[in-house]
């Protein structure tokens, strides 16, 4: 009884299997077409994934030729558009003490955050000698840097005139420019011997600390503006509607002869915004707070109160703004 049944079952299964095999071969008219379609689909997915994948931080930069930039009077196109000056536009600020902060009795426009402490209006700060840029960093100078860092190409406005201060850059980008310039100065035969020696002795190109900036802006006599105690729209670009090319308001009266320390654009510094008394050893305190960096000097759009040498603004390190730029220093930390 059972044998015929198993034979029948086996035949039935075999028939079903044959049918299935036949069906399979009928349903696959051309395997090559199917495989081709699948391969194309996989390639499409791979390309799409590559395009969609989050951008990884890439340290590699491609060396690109410097963009052809028009010559700018007073700047050296073959030396990264630095000023055509004896020290490539760097001005030495001698070592020594200076008065930092504001005395509201002498400066009626002083803000509260310029007060040294609860019982002192101003303080005295001693700093070593250093070099600071005669002008704010220009768009032409920054473009040479960007040409070697294509990842920044979209971040820098292309339509800005070469001798205008560079603006709309973030705090890390300003530092990156300074590091790049240091490498250039260290390795170039165009670097003046004085700067070369200073760099070899440990000098570093950076953005100024706020004490360096303030000393360069007002010297040792505690003046309110770089040129003295009386406001002058002829010596600085403020209270206006437009930014000007660097050095457009020549200021021979300004201490150390620096240009645009007041107005034109705010200049970011490497000092975190903290209450006075100023002490660079405090810079690593308050790490739990959000970063905010001091900016100095005011801009073309500010009133006279914000272009005083002691005024202290604060800027978020990621901010890009058309009133904020920077200048560089070479100092020994």
């Amino acid at each position: 009884m059972s044998k015929p049944q198993s034979e029948t079952e086996a035949k039935r299964q075999s028939k079903q299997e044959d049918q299935r095999k036949g069906l399979d071969s009928e349903q696959v008219p051309d395997r090559a077409v199917g495989l081709t379609i699948m391969c194309l689909a996989i390639v499409f997915v791979a390309v799409w994934m590559a395009l969609q994948s989050p951008q990884q931080i890439d340290s590699e930069t491609t060396e690109l030729p410097s963009p052809a930039q028009a010559a700018i009077t007073g700047f050296l196109a073959n030396v990264w558009f630095l000023p055509d000056e004896p020290l490539l536009g760097f001005v030495q600020i001698p070592a020594g003490p200076f008065t930092m902060g504001s005395n509201p009795a002498l400066d009626r426009l002083a803000y509260e955050n310029e007060r040294w402490s609860s019982n002192r209006r101003q303080g005295t700060v001693q700093i070593d000698d250093f070099y600071i840029g005669l002008f704010e960093v220009t768009a032409a100078q920054f473009r040479v840097f960007v040409a070697e860092h294509p990842d920044l190409a979209n971040e820098v406005p292309a339509d800005i005139q070469g001798d205008m201060p560079i603006t709309n850059i973030t705090w890390p980008e300003a530092l990156a420019y300074a590091r790049w310039l240091q490498q250039k100065l260290e390795n170039s035969s165009d670097t003046p011997e004085e700067l070369r020696s200073y760099l070899a002795a440990g000098g570093q190109v950076s953005i100024p600390s706020e004490s360096e900036w303030e000393k360069a802006a007002r010297g040792g006599d505690g003046r309110i503006f770089p040129w003295g105690n009386t406001p002058s729209a002829e010596l600085a670009n403020y209270g206006s509607s437009t930014m000007l090319p660097v050095g457009s308001r020549p200021c021979a009266e300004c201490v150390f002869g620096l240009q645009d320390m007041s107005g034109n654009v705010w200049e970011i510094t490497r000092s975190p915004l903290q209450a006075y008394p100023y002490d660079p050893n405090d810079d690593a305190e308050n790490l739990s707070e959000d970063a905010l960096w001091v900016m100095r000097g005011g801009s073309f759009s500010d009133g006279v109160g914000n272009v005083r040498a002691a005024v202290r603004g604060g800027v978020d390190p990621s901010v890009r703004n058309n009133t904020i730029g920077f200048r560089v220093v070479i100092s020994k930390p």
């Binding site: 699948m38 810079d283 790490l287 990621s318």
Partner: protein, 276 residues
Amino acid sequence: MAAITLFGVSALYSASTGVPYFLDSEIPAAVFLGLHLLITDPSTSPRTPLGKTFFGLLYGLGVFGLYTLLGAMGEPTFYDKLLVVPLLNLSVIAIDRAVRSIHSTALLNVWKESWLGGRANLAHMSIWIVIFASMSFLGKTDNKHQGDSLPFWEQACASDLSNACGRMLQLEATYCADNAAWACNEIGAHYREGIITASNQELSMAYFSRGCELKFQAACLNLLDTELVAREVPHELDLRLLLREGGQNLMTLSEQELVERACEHDWAFACENNGA
């Protein structure tokens, strides 16, 4: 079979190395449900019962392998569970053919549908529900997962467990890309120190820049001084990203709840703060 294999090999890996294989979860619940439809579609899955079993087995192994492969290629690893599907669909005929070429009746009949009393689908669904419920209950789907806990990987890396330092860097890079400033600073610090990975100053500066632009003060200081390695505990916004357990950012949690959650995830500073 797919879920069992995946869970099995993952468990085997964890048991042998001491660290989880997947950084997020074995199978997120949504993917678990989606896969049920994707790999059981009758027109794109094998027809023989044994072929179906192999299909599931290959799927589990394929996901396991693809996860490492995608990670090594720098591609998003969340494609691991999907990319296997078309590859297996391509192999359906070959699987069926291979199964039919087996001449062992015992092996071919190892799985008899008659055992299920003609209710194969009901039985399959029951098994599937039990597996899904078990994995969910064990926290292998969307719950808190050890693999996305940075304190765990820090500890594992310090203990020199298999590939732990690499996975920690991978996880930090992912969180940094998601704008967790703390993670950017940490990974920058690792590349500067050159202890758990090869030193790469340019890469470290790139990560510090990103951390600084996200207002992490320690990262800014690290940018200023190339000899420094400043560190700081995660800020509130970082915690909202770091503790999300693969879900949405925790934007609505109160600060106190965040700290409590951080402590549950073994962040020592949070437990100290919580205790205080």
